[in-house]
Symmetry: C2
Subunit: 494 residues, 2 copies
């Protein structure tokens, strides 16, 4: 409508204003404007030129802060009974050959029955892989990939919890990149962390638990046994095409599973809400394809994370206590998906970072209500057990956000000082966990002793992808170790 | 983990609970359970069976209410300077031949320069179509399509406002469906309203205004001159692959454009927030591909709509009054996108429904600050002018939502009675419009007279797609006409 704004007018004020907003690190008076090679000097440079020029020629790329965030999420269909539509979805996308991915438990449930009936009704060829391992290992992932490659499906359907959906994402990835080495895409520094440069095949995810939010994210987590570390593969292209969230499918969760899955949702929302802001993350990627999905808190992820937190605080206790409370169960499935969009685009930090060694170094704890033949610390439990200590620690980075979180727990923050934000939120979390019932209030109740802390610290350090988003964490290694030690120590009993 | 829940146990309570939640219309005690042909009778039916059976065999499909909602949005990248990344995006998606779509004004702006430089830097072949008409007509759309078809690009890049992005969506659609008749996809009843059964080619949208949110929606609006109606094409598959929201690009908007674009955002958020709930919409689609994007308010669109409303009330006045307030301009660009996700998945209703005849039957009004050679009622102005009357009218359908909206305008609702919700919100809106400045406070100021109301009503009636989402509107034609007359009458002066 009008020509681009010219600088001279009220240049200084405009520039200061703009530069403040983009959190730009150079001094307002900068050499480039007197640089004869400035490719815009045939006309007075615009603010856009100004900012862009600096972005194009940073003084030290590795120290340039991020200036943009990218929001990507799967399409979500939510409704009781929606599972029966999945056959039509594959017909609509002209799929001819579908690989259904599930596990031996879910394969007996009604959700699988609906999926199979749906594809059959549409006359679509399919095969079923039902050997997904709960808490997948690289070996179980590779077995799944070996199944998918020769079948070479043109679409995937995952029916199950996070382990099933994550495994399906990787079956899809390595079917599209059959020549790739497994470590090529695994998160650095453990793997090469290469970006996924091709679109994958359609993947429809039908969650049967309300926890991981995997139906909306581009993340897949597994145990890399060879390296003795819990790691994963994360890229936007991994995210499902469509997540079908059918609350009828989560009714089959026992109360204990409702509880631990819900605690995962609680930490997804709290960690993404409190993660460092995206524009404090370094380095700024030189190609947008290298912008991580775990990019730090941003104005869109914030909306999802805070809403998911409020819903979890309100509905999780009801869903756990009353197996007939379908409304609470439905709200928790929605909260899990909202939190998935939140942390899927912002990331998680300390609770998740420490949860990996906590569950893999399990001294022998078997969580009540879990019908398995081996010791197990459910993911949600291993994540939540450090939460009170973690948010006491991170509060100083952003007291207002921690107060808002405390408020979500029903705390009247009108009289709380900002310096008490961590205390108040930590207390609210501890109370929430103990009120929920059947939760281990501290690592000691999981069988850990002070003597185990050092190896838990060592097991946490490789989780750079999430630790880099931890607010307040010291970047110097020894100091960082001390802080992790302190958090684990404080999490022994509360 | 456990077998599907069986009915007998506490069947009644479970059923009531579930049925209440799905807003299911049959009586809890229903014949199907005694029906020998019930295909699940080899075992006691689960709740899933129960619900699904009714969904599979509704007594009267046309009267069955919706039971699911689907949320789809473009990926969004937001950040000052992000426009320069667009060349790499096309390189990353392996595009070889890109059609850039813009208009004669935007083609002179820095955003276009960045787009062209980006593609050139990556050595990607492209051509530019810069003849997009502001407020497109079917003729201008067809001219654009005629340009795109022979070039047959493998990707599209739209740089401009809503008119540009909408036109690019349709160039993409008819390039992928070269044999289709133009009316095939146009919204019924004016067109055939066929669903888009194929994925379209990648479309990256770079908005240069903060208003339509078209970068996130599957909607394209235009004047169908032959039928004398403003209509459009709407399907999820039309939505851009990626929206690049670069606040530097909206700095070129004159204050008057900030204002009217922002009023469009205001109504997108208010109308989607107050639209009928998705699960009150009928009929329930028999195939998910027929589930409209304008599906009614739902728990996810609500989050976006309310946030966009709050941000608009807070930042639009600043963005309009101070051309140097880059923070307010940035927040408005984000609000426009958030509102786009909200109404793109919930819909709009009365303000938009009446805005189409208001702008097309313009008696000769030329909005101040618009540098055009013909009369023009900017879209945002034509939408907002009826807002005070509309929300006074719709409040009875859901007083709490209207009170929440009034609260977003800073009204202390603690003492307001629910029956006064409409009064209070209408008043807050009128005050907001007059405080914004340079706004016509009523249709009279646009040159309309009482005698024009009948033809405005006639021009509104064909907008079924949005009127069907209007809460409180009488479904009987004559009564509906009376209500529209009343709203327009009330909007003459305030």
């Amino acid at each position: 409508m009008v020509p681009a704004i010219r600088i001279p007018a009220s240049a200084a004020s405009r520039a200061r204003n703009l530069l403040r907003t983009v959190q730009y690190t150079h001094p307002p008076s900068c050499p480039c404007h007197s640089n004869p090679s400035h490719h815009h000097h045939h006309r007075s440079p615009t603010l856009a030129d100004h900012v862009r020029r600096h972005m194009a020629t940073p003084t030290d790329p590795s120290r340039e802060k991020e200036y943009a965030f990218e929001m990507a999420a799967s399409s979500i269909r939510f409704g009781p009974g929606a599972t029966k539509e999945v056959g039509m979805d594959f017909a609509n996308m002209k799929a001819k050959r579908v690989c259904i991915v599930t596990d031996s438990n879910v394969s007996k449930l009604d959700a699988m029955k609906q999926a199979v009936e749906g594809l059959t009704r549409e006359g679509i060829e399919f095969t079923v892989f039902d050997k997904v391992r709960i808490e997948p290992k690289d070996s179980s992932i590779k077995e799944a990939i070996a199944f998918a490659k020769p079948y070479n499906p043109d679409a995937f359907l995952a029916v199950g919890g996070g382990s099933v959906i994550d495994t399906a994402k990787l079956m899809n990835l390595y079917t599209v990149f059959p020549e790739a080495d497994f470590l090529d895409f695994v998160n650095a520094p453990i793997g090469k962390g290469l970006p996924v440069t091709k679109a994958l095949r359609p993947l429809v995810a039908v969650p049967t638990t309300a926890g991981t939010g995997s139906e909306t994210t581009g993340t897949a987590i597994f145990d890399l046994v060879s390296k003795g570390a819990k790691t994963g593969i994360a890229h936007r292209n991994l995210k499902p095409t469509l997540g079908i969230c059918d609350p009828i499918n989560t009714r089959t969760m026992p109360s204990a599973v409702h509880a631990s899955s819900g605690l995962d949702v609680l930490c997804h929302s709290l960690e993404s809400w409190t993660a460092i802001p995206y524009n404090e993350r370094t380095p700024r990627p030189t190609n947008p394809i290298n912008r991580p999905a775990y990019q730090g808190a941003n104005p869109i992820s914030d909306i999802f994370s805070l809403q998911a937190l409020r819903d979890t605080v309100k509905y999780l206790p009801r869903a756990v206590k009353d197996p007939d409370d379908f409304e609470a169960q439905s709200k928790m499935l929605l909260a899990a998906t909202l939190a998935g969009v939140g942390f899927g685009n912002a990331g998680v930090h300390l609770c998740h970072g420490m949860s990996y060694p906590i569950s893999s170094q399990n001294p022998g704890y078997k969580h009540a209500g879990y019908d398995v033949d081996h010791p197990i610390i459910p993911h949600g439990v291993s994540v939540a057990v450090t939460a009170p200590a973690v948010f006491r620690f991170t509060a100083a980075s952003n007291p207002d956000r921690h107060l808002a979180a405390a408020e979500a727990f029903g705390v009247d923050i009108s009289t709380v000082k900002r310096e008490s934000a961590g205390e108040v939120l930590g207390e609210a979390l501890a109370r929430f966990l103990s009120d929920l019932g059947d939760q281990p209030l501290g690592l000691k109740n999981l069988g850990f002793k002070s003597g185990d802390i050092e190896s838990l610290v060592e097991g946490t350090l490789p989780q750079r992808r999430v630790l880099m988003l931890a607010p307040n964490l010291n970047s110097e290694l020894e100091a960082e170790k001390d802080e992790l030690r302190g958090l684990l120590q404080e999490s022994l009993v509360y």
